[in-house]
């Protein structure tokens, strides 16, 4: 297949991942084209790009899901290639298909492979044929609630309901018994429709507190496949990853080698090209089952970059231009150097059940110093809108060993200041300090255990300081409001008046 050199890439995404991809574009001297929905006009990915074009659609989010519109912009802007990021259209086969038709290089696998893998049911089937172990469950999408329920009864409750096109923890629900089945079925379909534009759902046996461990793979256009050191992703809340690390403290050398072999086997079975991730469920006896393959870059790819020193986006671009893996990677198996962890900072309020917390950002202090990396599109003056995912930043730390990595990440999270929305930063630090996490022996039940055990983030120490500090700040606030405006006016425009005083002082 003749491959054009890539000189301009359209990034069909927004937020931190769009900026992440554009960073590598800059490093490589490749022009980056942004697309944006109306409320994203001032977003960093638009400012970071060399070109930017508006998306039209019935809703704020719709533009990012509009294949024809995006590929047309790629053509019009003269982009050679398109990078889908994660989420949105990244696992929708219509995108690579449209790219191929329009002569735009898609940075990812071909439509057929994506189709196979993005349908959970087809993927399970294909993997079973390739000799890859899978979790027991329905072999195909459930045609009706009736059929799904009967399968659930057969394999026995609890079961998982999963969106066939789901991923990234979205569109999944555990169902404990028959009574809860109907409402869960509807809710899962609703979320599936909302997030992936398709309400097909299937049923799978629920494994009790498994570990969620995944293997990054890359395939090239010359038939080679390579596996990377595993990522431990068991720290999840509501099936959403919260904190990831590489390597996994649970994985032995023997298990690692087995998982790498099976991951390569899985990718090779579909002739995989580009970056993909095989997600495994691992039980306490170190049996592992194929859960799904994500046919795009993962949110948590930076921890792999930290332990290998490789730029995964660059690898994606190189492979899309036909480069050979044996020229891009050392011949010997890739090993983790040291340790890395990533924490996902979200605009949500842990004190109110992790309620989404959009808002205008008026102050940011990003972490710094040794062995710390931050990926974010947040800046002071930007506004977080309620239209998108609450993930606003990823804080990544490296260390020579697990304990020092943990200390570095904790320090970085403590430094990270974002004012204008609530964030889960405190909760992330609580996880880092939780004994089960520190010990490294944990499964996907860890967050619930932590939440059951203590009303975390609620402080008992430093109460006196909180009172005294709040008193002097309130004192100055009152004094300013008395000096300048009537109490009613203060409360009306409140925050801004106060801020300009502080700035001026």
């Amino acid at each position: 297949m003749p491959v054009r050199p890539i000189r301009k890439v359209l990034v069909a995404n927004r937020g931190e991942i769009a900026v992440r991809v554009m960073r590598t574009c800059r490093d490589l001297g490749i022009a980056a084209v942004a697309v944006y929905s109306p409320s994203d006009r001032a977003s960093l990915h638009v400012r970071y790009a060399t070109e930017a074009y508006p998306l039209r659609g019935p809703s704020e989010r719709a533009g990012y899901l509009h294949v024809e519109q995006i590929v047309a912009i790629a053509r019009r802007s003269g982009a050679d290639a398109l990078h889908p990021g994660y989420g949105f259209l990244s696992e929708n086969p219509a995108l690579p298909r449209a790219c191929q038709q329009q002569g735009v290089t898609f940075i990812g696998p071909c439509a057929e492979v994506m189709e196979t893998m993005s349908s959970k049911t087809q993927a399970r089937h294909t993997m079973q044929q390739a000799g890859v172990p899978v979790v027991p469950g329905l072999q195909h999408a459930a045609g009706s609630e009736q059929e799904a329920l009967s399968c659930a009864r057969k394999i026995g409750f609890p079961v998982m309901l999963k969106a066939a096109l789901g991923g990234g923890g979205k569109g999944m629900r555990k169902v404990d018994d028959q009574a809860a089945f109907s409402s869960a079925w509807q809710a899962t379909r609703g979320e599936a429709k909302l997030s992936f534009g398709d309400d097909t759902v299937y049923v799978e046996k629920f494994l009790d507190k498994p570990r969620h461990i995944e293997v990054q793979v890359f395939g090239d256009t010359h038939g080679r496949v390579r596996a990377f050191p595993e990522r431990e992703c068991s720290v999840q809340r509501r099936h959403q990853k919260v904190l990831e690390e590489s390597p996994s403290p649970f994985v032995t050398d023997e298990l690692r080698s087995r998982m790498a072999t099976v991951a390569c086997q899985a990718a090779a079975a579909v002739g995989y090209v580009g970056a993909g991730t095989i997600e495994f469920l691992v039980d306490a006896n170190r049996n592992f089952y194929f859960m799904e393959m994500n046919t795009r870059l993962q949110v948590e790819h930076p921890i792999t970059e930290m332990v290998t020193g490789l730029d995964l986006v660059k690898l994606q671009i190189d492979i899309a231009q036909g480069a050979r893996l044996d020229q891009l990677l050392p011949a010997k198996p890739l090993q983790a150097r040291g340790w890395a962890m990533e924490a996902r900072v979200c605009a949500e309020d842990p004190a109110q059940g992790f309620l989404p917390s959009p808002g205008p950002i008026h102050h940011v202090r990003q972490p710094g110093g040794p062995f710390v990396r931050t990926d974010t599109a947040v800046y002071a003056g930007w506004e977080i809108t309620p239209d998108y995912d609450p993930l606003i930043a990823k804080v990544i730390a490296w260390g020579a060993d697990r304990a020092s990595t943990l200390a570095h990440l904790d320090r970085a999270l403590a430094e990270f200041t974002i004012k204008g929305c609530k964030t889960n930063t405190m909760f992330l630090r609580q996880v880092l300090h939780f004994q089960d996490y520190r010990g490294g022996d944990y499964d996907t039940g860890i967050v619930q255990r932590l939440l059951n055990q203590s009303p975390v983030w609620q402080g008992h120490e430093h109460r006196k300081m909180a009172l005294l500090g709040a008193a002097v700040l309130n004192f100055e606030r009152e004094r300013q409001s008395q000096a300048r405006v009537s109490p009613t006016e203060t409360s009306a425009d409140g925050h801004n008046a106060w801020r300009s005083w502080v700035t001026a002082s």
């Binding site: 995912d389 403590a414 200041t417 609530k422 300081m465 709040a470 002097v472 700040l473």
Partner: protein
């Protein structure tokens, strides 16, 4: 100036001396005990406080209805801990207490949207009898659906929200009786 604070159900009195603070020095009596603070105010409600040589960044978030001058809920971050407290200047506090006494002991309950978002589903109709904890309306923000539930057994007096409707934080969605 005197402030009344409430922290975990306990009331505290904070008196801040009124003289000049150009040097950043504050004398504060907390329940009668005197403390000397060296305070500097940073952007965005962060205060650097030195007290007896210890250094603290005290980081305030208003957590309640920010447009209400009598809302006193604060989230205070100090060294990786969050303290929830309420604090109001004495006279405001008195005003608030008076208002609460004047109002019915419990106003008509209603369901408000806890954040800006979009109404996905309305699960009840006007006139429905609903029981405690029953789902009434689903609001979606940041791709998460949030089901809002009945705070007690009640009757739906009015439905003020429609599926697909964009709502602001603290917007009333369903009135109960």
């Amino acid at each position: 100036m005197t402030f009344i604070a409430s922290l975990r159900g306990q009331e505290h009195v904070l008196e801040v001396d009124d003289h000049d603070h150009a040097d950043g020095q504050y004398t504060v009596r907390l329940d009668g005990e005197e403390h000397t603070l060296d305070a500097r105010f940073m952007p965005s409600d962060i205060t650097s406080v030195l007290i007896d040589g210890k250094s603290y960044d005290v980081d305030l978030d208003r957590s309640g209805h920010t447009r209400d001058p009598l809302d006193s809920h604060l989230l205070v971050h100090v060294r990786g801990r969050v303290v929830h407290l309420e604090m109001l200047e004495q006279r405001r506090k008195r005003l608030k207490d008076m208002q609460e006494t004047l109002q019915h002991h419990e106003g008509p309950p209603a369901i408000y949207s806890p954040m800006p978002g979009k109404v996905v589903r309305v699960l009840v109709q006007q006139g429905d009898r609903v029981s405690h904890n029953q789902g009434l309306v689903v609001v979606e923000a940041m791709k998460m659906e949030n089901e809002l539930r009945a705070p007690k057994d009640a009757v739906v007096k009015r439905v003020a929200a429609q599926p697909g409707q964009t709502v602001a934080a603290e917007q009333m969605l369903i009135e109960l009786a």
